[in-house]
């Protein structure tokens, strides 16, 4: 499955900034968003399914957990594909973007996770909000880092 995903992305989505690629920045960004949109949708649906399936059998819960995992794998494969097909500037931008996102995203994850752990009822049980808000903050951090890194070649 990973191989199929990778092939699809290679062909259609994440070949921005490759040799001979004359696509405008707008087109490149469109490919970038198309690579990540399915992953976000899968993560959203999968997280909801996971919460809905709470209390059901382990088999069902594991099956539901597989959906967001596919989303995460999709992102990893998309990034790997993008990295492999990029030249050194774009690779450097990716690393810089990821580092910036990590610096913003990880403290945000920790702080918001801590706040929401106090709001949990009963304690220790994460809510859908507690899963999503840190994730969104981390994603925003990564996006900001990526956008800032892109300015290098603007």
């Amino acid at each position: 499955m990973t191989s199929t995903l990778y092939t699809n992305m290679r062909e259609g989505y994440v070949h921005m900034h490759t040799r001979g690629e004359t696509a405008s920045v707008k087109q490149s960004m469109r490919r970038y968003y198309w690579a990540f949109t399915p992953a976000i949708v899968l993560y959203t649906i999968g997280t909801m399914l996971l919460f809905v399936s709470e209390g059901r059998s382990w088999g069902i819960q594991l099956a539901m957990a597989a959906v967001p995992i596919v989303g995460v794998v999709w992102v990893a494969v998309a990034l790997y594909g993008l990295y492999r097909r990029s030249d050194e500037l774009v690779r450097w931008q990716m690393v810089k973007g990821a580092a910036s996102g990590f610096l913003v995203g990880m403290p945000a994850l920790a702080i918001s996770g801590l706040i929401f752990s106090f709001l949990d009822e009963p304690p220790g049980r994460p809510t859908l909000l507690a899963v999503w808000i840190p994730f969104l903050i981390a994603a925003m951090g990564w996006s900001i880092g990526w956008a800032r890194a892109q300015k290098t070649g603007a």
């Binding site: 900034h17 490759t18 040799r19 001979g20 690629e21 004359t22 990029s86 030249d87 050194e88 500037l89 774009v90 450097w92 290098t152 070649g153």
Partner: protein, 65 residues
């Protein structure tokens, strides 16, 4: 780091795309190096020097710190 890539490219009447294709990198990379927003890796610096038929030190200089 400072460089003379824009000048050398102009002397040869090459566009950024021409140079990018010769170096096997994106035009964005050529632009970033020319604007001195990005320092190329050593292999790419050698490749640039070879493309222009010059030594690395003829193209790149440390510049002001």
């Amino acid at each position: 780091m400072e460089n003379r890539i824009r000048q050398l490219r102009a002397e040869r009447d090459w566009t950024q795309i021409d140079l990018a294709e010769r170096l096997n990198v994106s035009r964005q990379t050529v632009l970033a190096i020319e604007k001195e927003k990005y320092d190329p890796s050593l292999p790419l610096a050698f490749s640039i020097a070879e493309t222009f038929g010059l030594k690395i030190e003829d193209i790149f200089s440390p510049g002001s710190p």
